[in-house]
C-alpha cells in the first residue's frame, strides 16, 4: 500500500523546511505528520518522507528507529504511557503500571484486541513533581491513584 501526504500536509512540511538551511532537518516533523495521517510510521510513510525531503529512505529509517515516539506498528486508539522512572516509582508508578496491565490484559508494547488501547512503559516524562503519571496519546494525567486510573480508562472506553 503506498502512502502519499495530503496536499495540506505537504504544504505544512514545505513551510517547516523554510526554518532551516536545507530540507533534512524537517524530517522529524515530517515523520510526526506522517504518523498522524497514517496512524503509524510504516515503510511507505518513510519512503514518502524520503522522497519529499530528498533523502535516502535508509536514512529516514535510521531516524525513525532512533526515536521512541515514532510508532513502527499500529498503536491503539489510546496509547497509554506509564512512567516508572525513579520519582514515579517512589510514588507508586509500578503499581499503576501493573494495574493498567491487569486491567487491559496486555503487556508492554501490546495492543488490546479491540484496538482501543496500547501500552508503553516510558522513561521520565518531566512529571516527577506530580507523580505518578500516565500520558494518554499527547495528554498528561498526573498525581494519580488506582481509582483515578480506573476512571480514566472508563471514560476513554465510553468516549
Amino acid at each position: 500500500m503506498s502512502f502519499k501526504f495530503t496536499e495540506e500536509n505537504i504544504n505544512k512540511i514545505n513551510e517547516i523546511t523554510t526554518h532551516y538551511p536545507d530540507k533534512q532537518p524537517a524530517v522529524m516533523a515530517a515523520l510526526y505528520i506522517g504518523q498522524e495521517q497514517n496512524g503509524w510510521v510504516s515503510y511507505e510513510v518513510m519512503e514518502e518522507v524520503a522522497s519529499v525531503l530528498e533523502m535516502k529512505p535508509e536514512d529516514v529509517l535510521g531516524i525513525t528507529t532512533f526515536y521512541t515516539m515514532y510508532h513502527q506498528k499500529p498503536a491503539g486508539k489510546y496509547h497509554l504511557q506509564v512512567c516508572t522512572n525513579v520519582s514515579c516509582m517512589l510514588r507508586g508508578g509500578y503499581k499503576i503500571y501493573e494495574h493498567v496491565k491487569d486491567k487491559l490484559g496486555i503487556d508492554n508494547g501490546q495492543v488490546t484486541d479491540d484496538k482501543m488501547f496500547s501500552l508503553e512503559e516510558v522513561e521520565c516524562m518531566g512529571s516527577c513533581g506530580t507523580a505518578p503519571m500516565i500520558a494518554v496519546n499527547e495528554d498528561y494525567y498526573e498525581n494519580l491513584d488506582i481509582q483515578q486510573i480506573d476512571q480514566i480508562l472508563e471514560s476513554l472506553k465510553n468516549k
Binding site: 532537518p25 521520565c124 516527577c128
Partner: protein
C-alpha cells in the same frame, strides 16, 4: 520573601499583554542600544552559570563565539529536559514563556546569530503548544522577526524556531541535540571541535538551557551587580529546585542558590510523609552522586557547596527517598534508564550500561554476591572517562557512589558466596579474569 526572577508569582504572566504591563520586553530594548560585547561582559560579571547540568559560566560561553566569521551563527535553547527528577523548564514554557523569548532575543543579539532554535522534547506536546502560542504573539507584536528593527530600534533581527524532539534523552546532550536538529540520529559528536567553532551545520553555535536564558532579561534590566549578590557568590541567582519522591509537597521551588537542602525538604517540601527518616537524596537529577540521609545536615544547594560534599548540582532536581525505600531496586531502575538511553556509539557505555543493569537485577533478585558489588564498581569505573559524551558518567556515577556510600546496605542484600562458577571465568586478552556466567535479566 525572596524575589523570584524566573517564575514570578504574577497572575497570567504567560499572556503577552500582562508580560508587557510588568516591564516585559524592556530589557531587550535596553540591550539593543548597547554593543554585543557590553552585554557579554555584563552577563559574565553577573556570574550567571548554566542551569542545564554543568553550571558553566554563560557569559564566558558566549565569548567563545567568533566575532568575525564568514559562516552563519546559531543559538540553540535546550528544552529537552529528560533527566529523571527534572521538571523545571516546563514551568517556564507554561508560566513565563515571554521572558524566555526576551532572553533569547538578547542572547541572540549578544552573540550575533542568524537564527535561534528552541529544542523541546516531543513528550512536552502541551508545553510546545503553549510556547508556540507565546512565540506567535511575540511575532504579531513585532518583537521577533522582520518587524523587530522597527519595534525595538537598532539594526538587528532574528527568527526563533521550535524544533520538536521525538523521545531520546541523549538529545539533551548538546552535540546530540545539534545532530538531531540537523535531522539525523541523535549521536553525540566527538569534542573538540566545540560548538562555538563547529556546531550546527558546521557553523559557530551556542547552546544554553531554558532556565539559564530566562535569567538574562532580569540581569540586563536590574544590572549584573544586583544579580551577583543573590545567593552564593560563586553561583549566584535563584535556582529552580525540583523536589520529588518522598516529600509531602513535591514541586518546583525558586529559591536563592545555596539554600539548605534540609530547608528545601522540610520547610518548603513539608518533610517526609509519615515523618519517616531519609535514607538517600539525589540532589540534581538521577545521574548525580547520591547522598546518605545522615550527610544532609548543612549541605547547601549550589555548584561549589555540592562539589565539596562529593556530588553535583546537575539540574537541581532533588529526589528524596525515605528509610523504607528499596535502594537496590532504585539503582536498578536508574541503571535501566541509562542502558535504554545509551546511543550505543562507545563500547564502554553501550556494553557497560547493560552489565550494570544485569548485575543490579541479579542483586535485586537476591542472587548477588559481594563480588558483584566490586564488579559494579569496576564496570562503572571502566565507563567513566572512556566515552564520547557525559552519558557515560551519568550512568556510572549513581552506581559507583551509591554502592560505595551505601556499602553496608548493599552488603546486606548479597551473600558472601561467589555464585559464579570458576569454570565460567574466562581470561580476556589482557589477562584479567572476567566472569562470563550467564547473568540473566
Amino acid at each position: 520573601m525572596m524575589e523570584k526572577i524566573v517564575l514570578p508569582e504574577i497572575k497570567d504572566l504567560h499572556l503577552i499583554d500582562v508580560y508587557i504591563q510588568n516591564n516585559g520586553y524592556t530589557a531587550v530594548k535596553k540591550a539593543y542600544s548597547q554593543t554585543p560585547d557590553d552585554l557579554i561582559d555584563q552577563v559574565k560579571k553577573s556570574g550567571l552559570r548554566g542551569r542545564g547540568g554543568a553550571a558553566f559560566s554563560a557569559g564566558l560561553k558566549w565569548s567563545f563565539m567568533p566575532k568575525t566569521t564568514n559562516k552563519k551563527k546559531y543559538l540553540c535553547i535546550n528544552g529537552d529536559e529528560s533527566e529523571p527528577g527534572s521538571f523545571k523548564d516546563r514551568q517556564i514554557f507554561e508560566f513565563n514563556p515571554h521572558q524566555l523569548i526576551e532572553g533569547i532575543l538578547i542572547t541572540a543579539y549578544a552573540i550575533q546569530v542568524d537564527a535561534a532554535y528552541v529544542y523541546i522534547r516531543g513528550e512536552y506536546h502541551k508545553w510546545i503548544k503553549l510556547f508556540e502560542k507565546a512565540l506567535a504573539d511575540a511575532y504579531t507584536y513585532g518583537f521577533v522577526g522582520d518587524k523587530m528593527k522597527e519595534k525595538l530600534g537598532g539594526n538587528y533581527s532574528v527568527n526563533i524556531y521550535v524544533h520538536k524532539g521525538a523521545g531520546a534523552y541523549i538529545c539533551g546532550e548538546e552535540s546530540a541535540l545539534m545532530n538531531s536538529l540537523e535531522g539525523k540520529r541523535g549521536y553525540p559528536r566527538v569534542k573538540p571541535p566545540f560548538p562555538a567553532q563547529n556546531g550546527l551545520w558546521g557553523c559557530p553555535t551556542t547552546i544554553n538551557n531554558v532556565e539559564t536564558i530566562t535569567n538574562v532579561p532580569a540581569i540586563i534590566n536590574k544590572g549584573w551587580e544586583w544579580f551577583s549578590k543573590i545567593g552564593e557568590p560563586k553561583h549566584p541567582g535563584t535556582i529552580l529546585y525540583g523536589l520529588s519522591g518522598h516529600v509531602n509537597k513535591p514541586g518546583v521551588y525558586e529559591l536563592p542558590s545555596g539554600t539548605l537542602l534540609t530547608d528545601l525538604i522540610y520547610n518548603y517540601g513539608g518533610g517526609v510523609p509519615g515523618n519517616k527518616k531519609i535514607l538517600c537524596v539525589i540532589p540534581g537529577g538521577s545521574s548525580m552522586p547520591p547522598l546518605r540521609g545522615d550527610q544532609l545536615e548543612g549541605v547547601k544547594m549550589d555548584a561549589e557547596s555540592l562539589k565539596a560534599v562529593g556530588t553535583s548540582i546537575g539540574t537541581g532536581g532533588i529526589i528524596v527517598m525515605d528509610e523504607d525505600t528499596d535502594l537496590v531496586k532504585v539503582l536498578a531502575r536508574i541503571a535501566k534508564f541509562y542502558y535504554h538511553e545509551s546511543c550505543g556509539q562507545c563500547t564502554p557505555c553501550r556494553e557497560g550500561t547493560g552489565w550494570l543493569l544485569k548485575l543490579l537485577n541479579r542483586i535485586s533478585r537476591g542472587e548477588g554476591s559481594t563480588h558483584d558489588l566490586d564488579l559494579l564498581i569496576s564496570v562503572a569505573s571502566n565507563i567513566e572517562g572512556n566515552t564520547i559524551c557525559a552519558l557515560g558518567e551519568a550512568a556510572a556515577w549513581p552506581v559507583r557512589y551509591m554502592v560505595t556510600r551505601f556499602r553496608d546496605y548493599f552488603e546486606k542484600r548479597v551473600s558472601r558466596e561467589v555464585t559464579i562458577p570458576v569454570a565460567n571465568k574466562v581470561h580476556s586478552m589482557r589477562g584479567t579474569a572476567i566472569p562470563l556466567a550467564p547473568i540473566k535479566d
